[in-house]
């Protein structure tokens, strides 16, 4: 995976990530499946277009780092790590079970390719600042990608990290914030007004792009621009996403942090995903 390749097509990668996530959701019977579906396009582009890594050597020194700050999205990252060949596919059926390396909340000590222990939200960008500083000290070309959620925008620590990344001009840091407009108690914009996000991030010294996070072409273009942008600034991709994306009946379900999926619906969801597949 050191050399970038577009085969299979990114749309197929995104489809496979969604499929893996649904299969894991079925094992546990519940979980953050709507989030996994909303972020699959971003993960497909990150893992199969933008990032450099070696599936057989997840600790390869020159790899791009990927931090999952929103640890409850682990189901989505496992789906991508399986698709990338970093986690063996047969472990999928252990998701969230006793002794599994794929716990419901992502932790570095459990899973190959998981770079941080999340679960407590608002930690990822601070680690990313340190990693970016460290990589620069080592004269490494590697980048630090950090995925976090709109709910995390409420945490003061996130803004401390955003401010310091601007201060240190961390052009090797690429943040992606999933604006799915949902957090635990309701729609994020109602829980705590965080807009205008682009202007705020720009004011903190970041190069900011806001995109439809479920439009693959837009996601590809945003990652490309984030990598090639000439200014010495950290880069943020603000990705507006749709919870449940790719499974129409989940897209339409009442929006919730923890959506209900009945036992019989998992197979229906896989079928709906398949039916909507663009070939």
């Amino acid at each position: 995976m050191e050399t970038l390749t577009n085969t299979p097509k990114l749309a197929d990668r995104a489809y496979n990530i969604r499929r893996n996530a649904l299969r894991m959701g079925e094992v546990q019977g519940q979980g953050y499946i709507a989030q996994a579906l909303d972020i699959s396009d971003v993960l497909a582009v990150a893992y199969f277009h933008a990032m450099r890594y070696r599936p057989e050597d997840p600790s390869w020194e020159d790899r791009d780092r990927f931090l999952l700050s929103n640890g409850h999205y682990a189901i989505a990252l496992y789906a991508a790590l399986i698709e990338a060949g970093i986690v063996p596919e047969e472990e999928l059926e252990t998701y969230g079970s006793d002794e599994s390396r794929l716990p419901m909340s992502g932790m570095a000590s459990y899973t190959p390719g998981m770079e941080m222990s999340g679960g407590s939200l608002g930690l990822g960008l601070s680690i990313a600042v340190g990693m970016s500083l460290g990589l620069k000290r080592k004269k490494s070309e590697a980048r630090v990608y950090t995925l976090f959620s709109d709910g995390e925008l409420d945490e003061g620590s996130v803004w401390e990290a955003i401010q310091s990344a601007g201060h240190y001009k961390l052009d090797n840091l690429i943040g992606i914030v999933d604006v799915n407009n949902q957090q635990a108690d309701g729609p994020s914009t109602q829980v705590m007004a965080f807009e205008p996000l682009v202007e705020k991030l720009q004011a903190f010294g970041w190069f900011v792009q806001r995109i439809d996070g479920n439009d693959l072409d837009a996601v590809i273009a945003a990652f490309d621009a984030a990598k090639s942008h000439p200014e010495p600034k950290p880069r943020m991709i603000v990705a507006d996403t749709l919870m449940g994306k790719g499974v129409p009946f989940l897209e339409q379900r009442e929006k919730n942090h923890f959506i209900r999926v009945e036992q019989h619906e998992w197979q229906l969801a896989l079928a709906a995903l398949e039916a909507g597949r663009q070939v």
Binding site: V27, Q28, G29, Q30, G31, P58, S59, G71, P88, E90, E91, T94, G96, S97, D98, E99, S100, R101, P103, M104, S105, M107, A108, S109, Y110, T111, P112, M114, S117, G118, G119, S120, L121, G122, G151, E152, D154, E155, G156, Q183, A184, D185, V191, M192, F258
Partner: protein, 336 residues
């Protein structure tokens, strides 16, 4: 280089992690829904100074019930625990009595300095009410507040409470409101077991209560471990072990008089059982009290180990770390 765990053996059926909103009630156990939320609504009817606050966990701490009843006395602070407690201090300074909720891990770890400086040091009348105490989540260390009692015990001015069941939670909400000053209260939420009603129990702030008497062992316990201890009595009796249970819901200030009186009765093994790490909780508090007072019964601790606990299904974890009913009974028998 980072080391990770090895892959599990394939093909073995295993329990799955229950959702973080899962109830700790056993199948078929008598429960009550949302005792904290309901009791707070009751209290707020006669106490116009009560306000509710949360950091994006209203639904997960039963505070949504209060929010629905008193929308204009409810403050959603977003997922910002430091802000939550700083703002609670400010509201208290202006004469209000905030009940501020989040998970135990986030109050104790993320917001500790804010609580220490703006609430405890100023002796502000804030009630800190926290779900997922001790080991009541299968999500791993990020959600397992194994050390919350130790941290809040170490804070001057703080009253620390670890209730057992819905019956107790209902009673302690008005009781902590009547107490002027900061309180840290462990919360059981959702469908909460009802246990102590059968023992004619009444909560009193600062008081330990003997729930059952017995001549071989004195179990001193708090929180859900009192429920476990009571459940273990039958298994102990089957082995002709006669156990007493002393419930200590107020961890600080400790009811020294009752604990010394009971632990001082000769011929009994003293076992302190808590849903908390061995470090700094009820066990060490009782041990230090006994040592200082020159009372020296044989002493054992049932508590979580000093390590980062696993993720997994709660029944599996409670067995693994010795706080399930079966493990409580097994350990006590082994020590006799």
């Amino acid at each position: 280089m980072k080391t990770v765990r090895s892959a599990p053996q394939p093909g073995k059926a295993r329990l799955t992690t229950s959702a973080m909103i899962a109830s700790i009630a056993a199948e078929g156990q008598k429960t009550k829904p949302a005792p904290f939320g309901r009791a707070l609504v009751e209290l707020a009817r006669s106490r116009p100074d009560v306000v509710g606050m949360t950091a994006d966990l209203g639904k997960y701490t039963d505070l949504h019930i209060f929010a629905k009843e008193f929308p204009d006395r409810y403050y959603q602070m977003g997922m910002a625990e430091q802000l939550l407690f700083g703002a609670a201090s400010g509201l208290a300074a202006e004469g209000f009595m905030p009940f501020a909720t989040t998970y135990a891990v986030f109050a104790s770890r993320r917001a500790y300095d804010f609580i220490h400086q703006t609430i405890a040091e100023e002796d502000r009348n804030v009630k800190i009410v926290c779900a997922l105490p001790g080991l009541t989540s299968g999500y791993g260390p990020s959600h397992q507040a194994a050390e919350d009692l130790a941290l809040f015990r170490a804070m001057p001015n703080m009253t620390v409470i670890d209730p057992c069941d819905a019956h107790e939670i209902e009673q302690l909400v008005p009781a902590i409101a009547a107490h002027q000053g900061p309180v840290y209260m462990r919360l059981l939420r959702g469908q909460v077991p009802v246990v102590l009603d059968e023992y004619d129990y009444k909560f009193e702030l600062g008081k330990a209560k003997l729930i059952r008497d017995g001549k071989d062992v004195l179990i001193i316990s708090s929180g859900i471990m009192t429920m476990r201890a009571l459940e273990a009595l039958q298994a102990l009796k089957d082995d002709r072990v006669d156990a007493a249970v002393l419930h200590v819901p107020t961890i600080k200030p400790l009811d020294a008089e009752t604990i010394l009186r009971e632990a001082g009765k000769s011929g009994r093994l003293v076992v302190v059982a808590e849903n908390h790490t061995t470090i700094g909780g009820l066990g060490e508090a009782v041990a230090a009290l006994l040592m200082r007072s020159g009372v020296h019964p044989p002493f054992r601790q049932i508590a979580l180990p000093d390590e980062f606990l696993d993720a997994g299904a709660l029944p599996t974890l409670h067995d693994r770390y010795g706080i399930s009913t079966a493990e409580v009974a097994r350990q006590i028998k082994q020590w006799l």
